[in-house]
Chain length 408, copies 4
C-alpha cells in the first residue's frame, strides 16, 4: 500500500490506475489516504462502508473511495390494485428532508381508507434518439423511407446486442437535413439505457454502412429525452406511463386533511395547474419529485432520471360526495435489475417494496418492474394528497417546523 | 423491545409512535423487525448503518429503519477560479452508473490543461411564492400596491422568523383575482426552503390580518418553483445562478476528445440546442443532471431539487484556435449547513470538495456555499465537455459498454 | 330603410336581425347608419367596399358593416421546386409594415441565384381533439380500446359528414379519467376546421351512444391545437408539415447580405436558437410570423391560425463553400377553397401565387394546396435569409428607418 | 406607362424601381400589368382599391400592386369599465370565419347583463433585446455593471432618437459570454417596434464605442420577444398587460349559455388549463387569437403580433351564486398611431372602437391606446365566455354549421 501511495504521490501512476496493481478494496484505501494526505483532512466517515468494492468495479463506479449513506424511513403500507399489483406494500424512502415520510404516510392512510389506489400502466419502452445528417431534404425523406423499409432487419440487429433488448418501434423527426430517430426498446426488467445506447449505435452503424448517404452526428440527439425535462416525454411517453387514482369521500377529507373538498380542489386548480402555466412548467404537480427521488435513491434507480420521471401531473376533481384524485407519470424510468438495483441495500429495498403484506392475492407471474411502477405511482398519489391537504389547511409551514428542524 | 413489537402487531401503537416509548435506535430495530415479520423477509443489509438515529429524529427523517448506501467515486481534482474559489478541488460523486466518474475526470483533465474553469456567480435567493385570492382585479391591484408599500415592515417580520433568513425582494404576479408573491430570501449558507416557507407563512398571515381583503390560498403557489422544471427559474433565477467557462485549444480537443472542433461544436448545436427545441425541453445540455445528482447525493443536498438545479445550458462556440465552452446553471439550490449536509458522510464530502489542494491562495473569508456552487458548475462543465466529446467521437456506446456493464 | 333604422333605434329589432327584413346590402347600410347616429361620427371609408354582402352572409361574417383594406405588395418571383411545384412564383403580401416586402424580395433574389428553394411536404391533416370523461382509469383504458376497435365504423361515420372530410387516424391521450382523442382528418383543399368539428361531434355522439360509459366534456379539448402556440403541434404536426431549403455560396452571402458566413451563422445560433431557449419560446426563427401573416391575409386564410402556422424553425449550417439554410413549418394550416379563400381579392391572390411564370414544367395534376404550402415555406425561407442577413450586417435598424417611417 | 412596362419586360429596370420614374399610382398599375402579362391572368379585383399609394410609399409597403379586403362585422356594444374607459363600445371585427362576430356578440350581451367588464392595465413598454458578445464571463459581468452605471446616459441617448420613445429600463440576461439586454421603451400611443429598434441600435453603437470590449451580435436577440410565442413575454410582460373580468350569475349562465356553472367551469379546467399543459402550450385559453386577429386587422395593428398578443389566459372560477371569469393578456402589442393605424379604414375602426355610446362619463384626458387595450381585453373576455359556453352546452359544431358554411 505504501508503495502504491508513493507512486501516486510521485505521479508515477494515476488515481484511476490503482485497480491495475491491487485489489479494489485496497485501491479504495490507498486512494482515500492519498486524498487525506493532500487535503490534510481526515475522512473517517467515508471509509465506513458496507459495499464490496469488488462488485462495484467496472459496473457502478470508478475511483471508488467509500460511500455515502442516507437514512431510510418507512411509509405505508399502501393498498395498491393494478394489473401487476394487488395488496399492501411498504414504501422505503431515502431522504434527508424531515416531514416527507410522515407526509407520504398520511397520504397512504387516506388512500387505504378509500379502498386503495387503482393504477393503470402502459409500457412505452426505453428510448434513445440518434441524430443523423444527410445532404438535403430529399435525402432526409429517402432515409426515413429506408428506415421504415428496413425495420425488420433492424429488429434482428438489435436482438443480437443483448437478449434483453428488443426493438419496439422507430419514430423519425426531421428538421432540414437533420434526422432524429426516436427508437423505443423493450428492455424488460432493466431501465436499460446502456443497452439502448449500444443498440442505437449498432443501428446507426448499420445505417451508415447500408444507406451510405447518411452520417451519424450523435448517438444521443436529445430527443431521447434522457435526464432533461421535456414536453416530448410527456406527449410520447418514456419508460413506463403509469397512473394511480383514488376517490376520497368528503368526510375523510375533512377528518384527515383538516380542510374542505372545495379548498383542496381550489389549491389544485390554482396552485398546481395555473401555477404551472404561469411559471412555464412542463408538468403540474405539488411535489412528485420528492417521492420519486426518495424511492429512486432507496431502490438504486438512476438518480439523474428523477428529472423526467417526476415530470407528472396531479388532478383533483370534485364530485358530489368526494374528490377524485389521480397522478399521471408519463415517463417513469425504472428497473429491478442492473445498475444500482443490484447493490445490497438497494436490492433489499426493492424486495421490501414488492412484498405484499396483505392477504389479497396477486396474479401469478406478474411483471415485477411494472408492479414497482404501480407502487411508485401510488406513493406519489399519497404524497400529492397529503401536500395538497397540508397547503389547503394551512399546515404546511407548521409541519415543516415540527419535523424538519429538530423542534419538538 | 418484544413488548413494543407486540403492541405494534396488536395495533395498540402505530409505526410512527415508537419513538415515544423508546430510544430512536431501539425504535428503528423494532420497526424493522415488525416489517421483517410482516413480510417474512430478512433485511440484513438495511440494518447495517453508520448513522445515529438520535441525530436524525425530527430533523431528517421519520419512521427510520436503516440506511441506503451509494458508492462514492472521486473525480478531479479540478482547477476552479471564481470570486470564492481559487485552486484545485476534488469532486466526490455518489452514483451507481458506471462511466460517470471516469467521464467527469476526463473533463477535469481537459479543463486543467486549459488553465482551469472560470466562474461567475449571482446570488438570487431562495424563493417561495404564496398564492392569494381577492374578490376582483381592483383589489388585486390594491394588494400589490399594499405589498410594495409595506416592504420594510415585511422585512422586519421576516427577520424575526430566524436570524438566518432575510427578505430580499417580492415580485408579484397576478392573473385575475389571484396573486402570487414570488418572495426571495437570503438564507445564507443554508438551502433554506423550510425557513422560506415559515417566513412566507408569516408574511401571508400578516397580509391577511392587515390588508383584510386578501385570503391565502396556498403558501406555495408553484411559482417558487420548487422541484419542478420551469422556464420561470431559468428567466428569474433561483438559489444561485452560477456559470463556469473554459477555452480549449484545438490540439487538446483532438488529442483528448479524439474529435475535431467542428464536430464537437456541431454536436452542441444540433443535439444540445436544436434537440432541446424539438423535444420541448426547458434547458439545453447533454447530461448536467448526472453530475448534479451525484454531487447532491454525496453532499447531502435535497435530491428532489436535482430537477431545477440541473436545468442548465451548455454552449460550445468555435473560435479560430479553439472552442469556448460554458455551462450556465440558473437555479442551483444548495446549502452547506442544514438538511442532509449535517449528516456525517455528507459533511465530510462537503469538506472534501471545499478543500483547495493546490498552492494557489483563495481569498480570505470567502462564502463557502458560493464556493461550493462554483465548484459544482465547474464539475458540470467537465461532464459536458467529456460527454459532448464522447458523442462527437462516436465513443459513447463503447465507453458505457466498458464501464457500465462489468465488461472489461 | 328609415323604417328599419327607427325600429333599431326603438329596440324593436336587433342589430343582427336586419337581414331578416331586407337585403344584406341594405342591412349593412342601415347598420352602419345606426352606428353613425349613435356615435355621432361619420365612417365614410368603411362604407367603400368591393365585397358582395350577399355572398358573405351565413358564411364569412355576421353583422356586416363594410370592409377593411390592406395594401398588397408583390415580392419575388421565387424559384421553388418540390413535389407539387416547379417554377417561379410571385408572392402577394398584405401588410402595413414597411420593409417586409423589400426584405422578402431580397431573400427571393438570393434563393433564385442559388438555384431556388427545394421543398419537402408531409400531409398531416386537420386535427380536432374532443375531450371525454369516464369514471375511472379502468374505463378510460377500455374506452381507448373501444375506439381502436371501432376505427372502421368511425371512418364510415365521418365519410357521411361531408364528401371532403376523411378520417386519417385517432391518437388518444389520457390523464386520469379524462381522455382526449386527437383526431386527424383529410380535408383535401380546405383548411377544414369546421368539417373537423362536425365530424368530431359525430364521433363523440356515436361514442356516447355506443360506449355508454363515456361523456363528452368538450368537442375541442385544446389538444387540437388550434390557434394556440404549442409544442404538441411541433412534435406531432398539424395541417401540413412543410420545409424549404437552399444552399447559398459564400460569395453570394458577402455580396448580397453584406456580411460573412460566420456572422450570419452566429446570428442563427445565438439569436435564433439560444434566444429561443432563453425566452422559453416554442420555436426558433427570426420573423416567420411576418411572412405567414402577410400571405394568410392576402390569400384569405384564417388569420388566427398565424399563431400555430408561424411556429417554425430556421437553421443555418456552415459548410465549406457556403451556408445551408432550411425553414421547417410543422403545422401550416391553409386551404385553397372555403372560408376567406373564396372572397374575390383573396381568390385572385391565390391564383396569382399558384401561377408558374417560368418555362419549367410542373408535374400534371399537382395538389394545389400542397403547392401553395411549398411556396409559402419558400417565402418564409426568403424572409428568414434576408432578416438574418440584415441583423448580421447591422442594417436592420437603418432598413426600417428608410422603409418603415416614410423617411427617404 | 407603356414605356416603363417595356423597360420592365426588357429587364432594364426592376419591379421595385418603378416609383423612381413615375407616380406611385401609376407604378402600381404598371406593376400589376407586368404581372398580368407574365401570368397571362387578369387580376381585376386586386386593382379595385380605396387606398392612396402616395401615402403608403416608404411607410407601409413596397412594390404596391393593389389591396386585399376583408369584411367587417360589428359586435357589441360592450360595457367596459377601467382606468381609461367607462362606457359602451362597438367592436369592429375583420374576419372571414363565420360565427365569430355572432359569438363575440353573445359574450358582450352576457357581460352587459352582468354589469360590464372591469379591466386592469399595466404599461410594460415595447421591448427590443439586442444581443452582445464579449470574450468571457468576467467581461460579461463588467458589461452588465457598465450598463447599469450608464443608464442615465442611455436615457438621454434614446431621447434623441425620437421625441416619442423613452427608455424605461434595461434587464440583462447572460449565458456565458453572450449578453442580452432586454430594453423596455415607452413608445406612447405607437406600437413602436421601429423606434425601439432604432433606439436599441443607438444603445448598441454607444456601448461598442464606449465599453470597447463588447461586440453587437444582433440588434434583436429573440428575447424581445417579437412575433414568437414565449413564456418570457408571459412572465415579464410586453407592450401592455391588460386584464378584463366579470362575474356572471348562475341564472344568466343557464339562460344564455344553455349550460350549468359546473359544466362551463369544468370545460375551463379540463379543456383550457389541463389541455394547455398536455399540449405543451404557453397559454391557456379557448380562442383569444380569433378576437385579437379580427381586431388587429380591423384597426391596422401588426398582424404578425397576433402571435404574442393572443398568448393569454382565461380563468373560470365557480362561486356560490355565479362564475368569476377573467382574461389576462400579458403582452398586448398595439398602437393608435403609426403603421397600419394611419390607413383610412383602419383609422375609422379605431375611432369607432374608442367611441363611448353610453351616457357614462369617461375620465377626461384618458390615454387612448390604454383605452383601446381595455376594450380589446373585454372583447376577448366576451369571446371566451361565449366559446366556453358553446362547448359546455355542446352547441359549437351546430353553430359553425349554421354560420360558417352558408347553411341556413
Amino acid at each position: 500500500m505504501n508503495n502504491l501511495l508513493k507512486k501516486l504521490q510521485n505521479k508515477q501512476i494515476k488515481l484511476h490506475e490503482l485497480e491495475k496493481y491491487t485489489t479494489p478494496t485496497e485501491a479504495a484505501k490507498i486512494r482515500l489516504s492519498f486524498i487525506e494526505n493532500l487535503t490534510k483532512e481526515n475522512f473517517a466517515e467515508l471509509k465506513k462502508y458496507n459495499l464490496d468494492p469488488e462488485n462495484l468495479q467496472n459496473k457502478n463506479i470508478e475511483n471508488f473511495i467509500g460511500s455515502t449513506e442516507l437514512p431510510l424511513g418507512i411509509a405505508g403500507p399502501i393498498k395498491v390494485k393494478g394489473e401487476n399489483s394487488n395488496g399492501e406494500y411498504f414504501l422505503p424512502l431515502a431522504t434527508t428532508e424531515g416531514a416527507l415520510v410522515a407526509s407520504v404516510s398520511r397520504g397512504c392512510k387516506l388512500i387505504n381508507l378509500s379502498g386503495g389506489a387503482k393504477t393503470d400502466l402502459e409500457y412505452i419502452g426505453t428510448t434513445r434518439a440518434p441524430l443523423f445528417s444527410v445532404k438535403d431534404l430529399k435525402t432526409a425523406r429517402k432515409f426515413i423511407g429506408w428506415i421504415n423499409k428496413n425495420i425488420e432487419k433492424l429488429e434482428k440487429l438489435v436482438s443480437k446486442v443483448d437478449p434483453f433488448v428488443k426493438l419496439i418501434k422507430i419514430e423519425p423527426f426531421s428538421s432540414g437535413r437533420n434526422i432524429w430517430l426516436r427508437i423505443y426498446y423493450n428492455t424488460f426488467d432493466a431501465m436499460g439505457m446502456n443497452m439502448a445506447t449500444q443498440a442505437s449505435q449498432k443501428i446507426a452503424e448499420y445505417a451508415e454502412r447500408n444507406f451510405k448517404l447518411v452520417k451519424l452526428v450523435a448517438v444521443s440527439g436529445n430527443l431521447c429525452v434522457d435526464k432533461k425535462a421535456s414536453t416530448m416525454n410527456a406527449i410520447l411517453g418514456r419508460g413506463r406511463k403509469v397512473q394511480a387514482e383514488c376517490f376520497i369521500k368528503n368526510e375523510l377529507i375533512k377528518k384527515y386533511l383538516h380542510t374542505t373538498p372545495e379548498k383542496v380542489v381550489a389549491v389544485n386548480h390554482k396552485k398546481t395547474w395555473q401555477g404551472a402555466i404561469h411559471s412555464g412548467s412542463i408538468a403540474a404537480n405539488a411535489h412528485i419529485a420528492n417521492i420519486i427521488a426518495a424511492i429512486f435513491i432507496a431502490t438504486g434507480q438512476d438518480a439523474a432520471q428523477v428529472v423526467e420521471s417526476s415530470s407528472g401531473n396531479t388532478i383533483f376533481e370534485q364530485d358530489k360526495n368526494g374528490v377524485y384524485i389521480c397522478v399521471t407519470l408519463p415517463s417513469l424510468m425504472i428497473g429491478t435489475v442492473g445498475g444500482g438495483t443490484n447493490l445490497p441495500k438497494q436490492n433489499e429495498s426493492i424486495r421490501l417494496m414488492l412484498k405484499n403484506i396483505s392477504s389479497s392475492r396477486e396474479k401469478s407471474g406478474v411483471n415485477k418492474t411494472h408492479k414497482l411502477a404501480e407502487i411508485i405511482a401510488s406513493a406519489c398519489l399519497a404524497g400529492e394528497i397529503s401536500l395538497h391537504g397540508a397547503i389547503a389547511s394551512g399546515h404546511l409551514a407548521s409541519a415543516h417546523m415540527r419535523l424538519g428542524k429538530g423542534v419538538k
